[in-house]
């Protein structure tokens, strides 16, 4: 099965994305940003429409737009009047509406705006895989270097600021890194996979109520494991690969939930302190 080059590449991409999203997903779940994937990817639509109308590369304008939106989210949600998810929701709606309106002004036969953004894990090319690898490594390095700071900000922004950490800077960094991951990931392996891997493995890890070290590890492992198992299943049963990977992760989530429930109600002591 893995003698097909496309399967090898899909496997590598799924494992890479699983690892990356596991690490980032930890913060996504901790900071209640579960819809950052959908939010950022759909926000890029406004940029795609601008790109098409202006005759620029729609992918580039879309990516720029997504990162600008991430910066906007960080800035606006700094005032504690409205939470980050609400700000993401506003930008999501605004960008999509902008895309729809701009697009309705253009006549002539067009592709669906979204088709510029969305990719597929089976369709990843070698160059793209290499790019994905480099970007993953860079993002992982950044996150591991600033991990504790991000954790402190998630613990208590006020205390973090009191200890002299640049809370706004860290929030901007996190959102921009997420935006990058999302725009690149969505383009290469598809929205479904990125969105799910940013949330589901980290949610599984959170259900085990482990220490953050374990949570990150479990999330990364569940993410990449789902990738491997999901791909094998997709090949065996000839079903959509991205969907299959996500289904594996979601199935693991429900298994964890049941285990969690049983443990609660039959009082088996927790495995890790």
């Amino acid at each position: 099965m893995f003698d097909f080059a496309f399967m090898q590449r899909a496997l590598a991409a799924a494992v890479l994305v699983g690892l990356l999203c596991g690490v980032l997903g930890f913060f996504v779940v901790l900071r209640r940003l579960a819809f950052i994937g959908v939010g950022i990817s759909h926000s890029a639509i406004g940029g795609v429409a601008i790109g098409i109308l202006a005759g620029w590369n729609p992918l580039l304008t879309g990516a720029f737009f997504a990162i600008a939106v991430a910066l906007g989210i960080a800035m606006v949600s700094q005032s504690d009047k409205i939470s980050e998810d609400t700000v993401i929701g506003v930008f999501f709606s605004g960008s999509m509406a902008l895309g729809v309106v701009l697009f309705s002004m253009k006549s002539g036969y067009q592709q669906d705006l979204f088709s510029y953004l969305f990719g597929n894990v089976l369709a990843i090319s070698t160059t793209e895989l290499v790019a994905l690898g480099c970007i993953s490594a860079a993002i992982m390095a950044i996150m591991l270097l600033t991990f504790k700071e991000h954790l402190l900000v998630a613990f208590d922004e006020e205390v973090a600021a009191a200890y002299g950490h640049k809370v706004l800077g860290l929030n901007v960094l996190l959102l921009v890194v997420l935006a990058l991951t999302v725009v690149i990931g969505v383009r290469l392996v598809g929205l479904l996979l990125i969105q799910a891997l940013l949330v589901v493995p980290a949610a599984i890890a959170a259900l085990w109520a482990l220490n953050f070290r374990w949570q990150v590890l479990v999330a990364a492992l569940v993410g990449s494991l789902s990738g491997i198992v999901g791909l094998v299943m997709a090949y065996q049963f000839d079903i959509a690969a991205g969907g299959s990977i996500v289904m594996v992760a979601v199935a693991l989530f429900f298994v964890t939930l049941v285990v969690h429930f049983i443990r609660r109600h039959f009082r088996v002591p927790p495995p890790v302190p």
């Binding site: 270097l145 600021a161 200890y163 953050f212």
Partner: protein, 261 residues
């Protein structure tokens, strides 16, 4: 105990929140090795004062200096801080030790990996607040008083030069409170630690601190703890009568009694 080095200095500091003047023309200095207690009725602006010292709110006029520089600046020294309100999410995925270590983040190396010395410091801090046996418990699952101790340990881990404490002993049981004050005295003596602390426990504050400052939006009095507690100014700030006899406190309403209207 005091020397001449000013650690925290406020000059005519005025703070507004939401267009409301919360602190007006606050001026005082805290010298190295000093222990200054801040007292005042609810809503007097004590927490706002602590947040101003930590650089979390800006003054609209006047000046604030910590270690000779405006607070919150780039190279400002680490300050141990215990905020008044703290609600740790029940599922926060870190142990007590991890949370205490977070106080030291800025002192760690560039890679942010704590060394043996750092962990030793964490252990010491936890021992000082009597939580050494809770080090690997998830922090969200502790009782209210236990979490309070963790925050104290974090502050102690962050700095041994200046602690800013907003009602630090709230929620602590009696032995813990006494141990904590004993600890502060020891730190001041041994490390020339400087302390600014808010408390509602006038009796304890008067007994522990060198100087008391009584505020109610503006400063009512600043001086020796004994003097302050028996002054007329404190009655004015609280707008009621106290009767400190043998540590017991009786409370009589004065005519026109009203809290910080």
């Amino acid at each position: 105990m005091n020397n001449d080095k000013v650690v925290v200095g406020l000059t005519g500091a005025t703070v507004e929140l939401d267009g409301r003047c919360v602190l007006h023309d606050i001026t005082f200095d805290v010298h190295e090795g000093g222990f200054v207690g801040i007292v005042g009725p609810n809503g007097a602006g004590k927490t706002t004062l602590m947040r101003t010292i930590m650089g979390l709110v800006r003054v609209v006029s006047g000046r604030v200096e910590v270690f000779g520089a405006p607070p919150g600046g780039k190279r400002s020294e680490a300050i141990g801080y215990v905020p008044q309100r703290q609600s740790i999410p029940a599922e926060f995925p870190a142990t007590v030790g991890d949370v205490v270590m977070m106080g030291r983040l800025r002192q760690l190396g560039p890679l942010g990996f704590p060394g043996r010395k750092d962990w030793q410091r964490v252990d010491e801090s936890l021992e000082l607040v009597g939580m050494q046996d809770r080090r690997s418990r998830p922090v969200g699952r502790l009782s209210g008083g236990e979490q309070r101790r963790v925050m104290l340990a974090q502050a102690l881990c962050a700095s041994t030069r200046l602690l800013v404490l907003d009602e630090p002993t709230v929620g602590l049981d009696l032995p813990a409170e006494h141990e904590f004050y004993a600890l502060l005295r020891k730190l001041i003596r041994e490390l020339t630690l400087t302390i600014v602390a808010v408390s509602h426990d006038l009796v304890a504050m008067a007994g522990q601190s060198d100087e008391l400052i009584c505020i109610n939006h503006r400063m009512h009095i600043h001086g020796n703890a004994e003097d302050v507690i028996h002054s007329h100014a404190i009655r004015e700030a609280y707008r009621c009568e106290f009767d400190f006899l043998g540590g017991e406190l009786a409370h009589h309403e004065t005519p026109g009694h009203q809290h910080n209207g």
